[in-house]
Symmetry: C2
Subunit: 288 residues, 2 copies
């Protein structure tokens, strides 16, 4: 299997490591717009060569599009166009392309009527760290996590099967959902936690001007709550923008909850504070 | 050294483990109101015996008050009263008592004029987890972290010296601060992160009624951001209540930051979102 990876950051790079190690990919071709990242990915050995999107799409059996979702919306139709060229040239096309982006609906709409739509599988592996770039790629990143596959009825069974096999190699559990539901549920669970973490960092940096105090007073608790605030703007700006409507609803609920704490604390209402905390503690049942 | 620990939870229990292991305490006497926790602490071997607050304060050289701060405000004067009895009985008193609570000003005010004030040292070791109870006590919890010592000029040099030696045994860095500053800075850095995490748990539990979705869609990022929402109400209700004024200020700043995100997302203002995220990213310089 000749694998192409477009975007050699944390996700693309970590996939390269494990898919090569498990024998799924015999050779891996990379595409990377940032020349420093491209050179690093080659040097680390994530990929065997760096090429262009056109050449990658023309020569690989499976292409992983692991770029920020704003770029993915532009690149995905280009890749499907290249697939279509092969058909026009009288060849058959057995290639498959997947994306690994955190929002799915805009991508789904963009290629819904593309004649090669069936060769695309929309996926979202639920794994990552707050770091980015090929040097942060790591083995085992996906191990045991869930991977969402969206609108699989629009993809060809052969492409879906190949992608399921690939995620099985990464030891991921597949979950099937339509793109619109995906975006609702990821806003509710994943995207809002990035907003709360960015806002926490901004608050602490604003109120506590003495950076040494932040360092000294940061217990493990603060470090873990603010961890996501280190996340990359290139990745998160288009996610927040594309998932606007769902995010606004969950932000409004979040502001209500913060205000409930504010009121209870302001009114010396210890029973009210206790009942909010005990309600929140129910998360223990779900997240160990 | 005969050590007394009042409150055998995560902090008291973890101190017991390391102070015995390092040879600082030859015997450890525990006081614990909850009979299940008391039996567990004995069974695990955290303490050699369980006794009453009165007997503990009368027989130990150093007493660690590791109970929620609401209880500490009641117990600390009782312990100093017992110290004073010894003086009244014509003996000298070389005992020391410390607390390990997360708010310091109310405790400081409560015993400011007590004749035995000098035998009390106010401390706050900046370590913990979201768990509580003697079974969650662990070795090395304090290793390499900061420990705040407040208003040390009100404590006798001998007591301060003993307490510094104890924290040195736990490999903690001492930081000196007055009680009022402590409460401002911990509100800014530590307490607000608990509020944001409780509110996140409430939001997700409210919006996402399907618990399986929460489990499936929770990447490592969500788990780490919501971790503190598992924290114990008995500990946090009195902290939020005692640190009300500082907390209200930092909650208001936090709501401003969340609203800034809301506005930028609502107005499709990608430059605005980017600039908020990049501002928040400055936390990387401080928290690795």
């Amino acid at each position: 299997m000749k694998l192409g990876i477009i975007g050699l950051g944390l996700i693309g790079g970590s996939m390269a490591i494990d898919l090569r190690r498990k024998g799924f990919a015999e050779s891996i071709i990379g595409v990377e717009a940032d020349s420093v990242n491209a050179a690093a990915a080659l040097k680390i050995g994530l990929v065997d060569e760096i090429t262009t999107l056109q050449e990658c799409a023309a020569s690989c059996d499976l292409i992983i599009l692991s770029v920020p979702v704003g770029a993915a919306v532009r690149m995905l139709p280009e890749i499907l166009d290249i697939f279509q060229e092969e058909i026009k040239n009288g060849n058959s096309c057995k290639k498959t392309v997947i994306d690994v982006c955190s929002t799915k609906e805009q991508l789904a709409k963009t290629v819904h009527y593309h004649p090669m739509r069936a060769r695309y599988v929309a996926t979202h592996p639920m794994a990552g760290t707050e770091y980015s770039g090929p040097w942060d790629a790591m083995p085992g990143l996906f191990d045991g996590r869930a991977c969402i596959i969206c609108n699989q009825e629009e993809s060809s069974p052969a492409s879906v099967h190949l992608v399921e096999k690939m995620y099985d190699c990464l030891n991921m559990r597949p979950i099937y959902m339509n793109a619109a539901s995906h975006d609702v549920h990821t806003a509710y669970v994943s995207h809002i936690s990035h907003i709360t973490s960015f806002a926490l960092a901004l608050t602490v940096l604003d109120k506590e001007r003495n950076e040494k105090h932040i360092f000294d007073l940061a217990s493990g608790g603060f470090s873990s709550t603010v961890r996501l605030a280190k996340s990359n703007a290139d990745m998160w700006v288009p996610i927040f923008s594309q998932n606007r409507d769902n995010l606004l609803k969950v932000i409004d609920t979040y502001i209500e909850k913060i205000n409930a704490f504010r009121e209870a604390i302001d009114g010396f209402d210890e029973d009210g504070i206790r009942s909010l905390i005990e309600d929140a503690n129910r998360i223990k049942r779900i997240i160990r």
